[in-house]
């Protein structure tokens, strides 16, 4: 599967796995990227409104306040942050839709906001359910339009449609008018349409939002597969930590437009949680385990304890020695909880 022949000669990556031994130059470089919006305030009350007619109160808001990071070719990176953190603004700058207030970015050697055609042919941005597809006609028709726009040779096009149809199980969907598709079905077609020109840099803004668990899973594994097959560099935002855990070894976390963390997902958990969770199964809930750690819950003898990270081993040892333990499990807290804690700390 690694041997994907690219007859149109556009792909910059020839094998599916990026060469780890010789570090290639980054696919994406971002340096001190800033975006400041000027926001006008509308005040309440008649007098304020009259005043506002003459002079509006203006305020500068830094949506992105100077962030820097690189993406290696073929890397999938999770781009995390609460609503309003500046994720979408960053993605829009990287795909050339927004001019930054200051800072630099290079993608495959291009400055995104110059919007050169050679650049646009190599990237894609999928934003929620924003439409690649024409609403009233079958998706296949929109695919054909994209084929013409991206000048995809017919043989390549046919092969890619077949491939995407197979991976995303598009089969019968392609011939129905888009408006008759369910949200999940439409999203699959949207993603396929956005990837027909086989971009080597892919920006995904909440690709699984609003979808049921099965559909989320399908799209998630498709993104992983696309990355593996074609060595595409992927920057992905998602509110579903399952997406991030399944796909991204590395995460970049931003909050209030600033970079909070850039590194391995596991290290994020290390850095921001001082606790681990011990789940211990004993006879019943009668025992008092408060001496071992904070009891979060107990159901049918299954205790969930929160203990300081550095004491985990010792407490586990004591539990096993002291109690008739049937089963015991040591876990990191769920990633959602970690992320929540990160933002809570920073917000305070």
């Amino acid at each position: 599967m690694s041997n994907v022949d690219e007859t149109d000669g556009r792909s910059t990556v020839s094998s599916s796995l990026p060469n780890r031994s010789a570090p290639a130059s980054p696919a994406v470089t971002i340096k001190d990227l800033r975006k400041v919006y000027v926001v006008t305030h509308q005040e309440l009350g008649a007098r304020a409104t009259m005043r506002g007619l003459v002079r509006r109160r203006k305020q500068e808001v830094a949506a992105v306040a100077g962030i820097s990071f690189n993406l290696a070719p073929g890397e999938i990176v999770g781009f995390l942050g609460p609503n309003g953190a500046g994720k979408t603004t960053t993605l829009k700058m990287l795909s050339g839709l927004l001019h930054p207030t200051s800072g630099e970015a290079t993608i495959l050697g291009h400055v995104p906001w110059n919007r050169e055609r050679a650049f646009l042919r190599q990237i894609t941005l999928v934003m929620g359910q924003r439409n690649q597809l024409v609403w009233d006609i079958p998706a296949l028709n929109s695919f054909e339009l994209n084929r013409a726009i991206y000048r995809i040779p017919l043989d390549d096009y046919r092969r890619r449609v077949a491939e995407l149809t197979d991976l995303l199980e598009l089969g019968p969907l392609l011939h129905k008018p888009v408006r008759n598709l369910s949200l999940g079905e439409r999203m699959k077609c949207e993603i396929a349409a956005a990837l027909l020109h086989r971009p080597s840099v892919v920006f995904l803004d909440e690709p699984t939002i609003g979808l049921d668990v099965t559909m989320q899973h399908r799209i998630r594994s498709f993104i992983g597969e696309y990355n593996r097959r074609f060595g595409a560099t992927v920057l992905l935002t998602s509110h579903y930590m399952a997406d991030v855990e399944a796909l991204c070894k590395r995460v970049v976390v931003i909050h209030h437009g600033r970079l909070l963390f850039d590194g391995q997902l596991a290290a994020l958990v290390q850095k921001f949680t001082e606790y681990k969770t011990i789940v211990v199964q004993i006879e019943n809930c009668q025992n008092n385990l408060a001496t071992y750690g904070e009891v979060v819950s107990c159901e049918g003898g299954r205790f969930t304890l929160r203990v300081p990270r550095e004491k985990t081993a010792r407490i586990t040892e004591r539990l096993l020695a002291d109690l008739p333990v049937i089963d015991l499990l040591v876990e990191d807290p769920p990633i959602e909880e970690v992320i929540e804690r990160v933002f809570a700390q920073e917000g305070a």
Binding site: Y37, K92, R115, L120, N141, E144, R147
Partner: protein, 267 residues
Amino acid sequence: MKPIIELYIQQFKTTLATMFAYRASLLIWMIGQVLEPLVYLIVWSLVSTASGGSVGGYTTADFAAYFILLMLVNQVTYTWIMYEFEYRIREGILSVALLKPVHPIHSDIADNISSKLITTPFMILVAVLLAIVFHPSLDTTSWAIVCFFPALLLAFAIRFLLEWTLALSAFWTTRVGAINQIYFVVMLFLSGQFAPLTLFPLPVQIASYVLPFRWLISYPIDLISGRLTLSQTLIGFGAQAAWLAVSYILLRTVWRAGLRVYSAVGA
């Protein structure tokens, strides 16, 4: 050149499929296209009959010819981009278009031509029916007919570029409706859509020579109606060439400025 033709062909298929998804509204829209000139035709025929068969050099049969031709010229030259642009910006459709390695105007040109290829046979049929009912008189010459087609093509090109540029006002304001309204009123009177321009007072006529509207509607009609001398025809072509250049430069300038605003503020 070939890839762009490919794009136009695909856009044609898309437009065709979309139009057939909305057959009923297509029909309603076409009736609207016919109704407006038909109302003016009937009104001016009545006025002309009441004034003893002629108004300002136009007989009842001349009015019939004028408004039937108007309907056809309008069919070829009109655009609907101004209704759509603000929606595109608001809904993020423009962003999707800007991510593509083709200027978005190509889709619009292709879409415009495609939908007209589909609706024009219907309009010609209507024109024939109206001709049977209203007995127009057309006093044309062979050179006028030859000149008519390039004049019509130029009129379409100018009108398309101008209205596309006007649609870009949506980059700066959300009150596009008001701007469109002003444009339509000015267009209605100064292009000759409401009445032949020779019926208007002198100042209006002078204004109509300076402004672009006359060259979009009235000029091709007058040309094929045999109302223009050769030198008037040449002046018309000169004016059209000048307006084509102006509207092209205007479009490029406004598009760039608009994109700067768009990429500064976002959608």
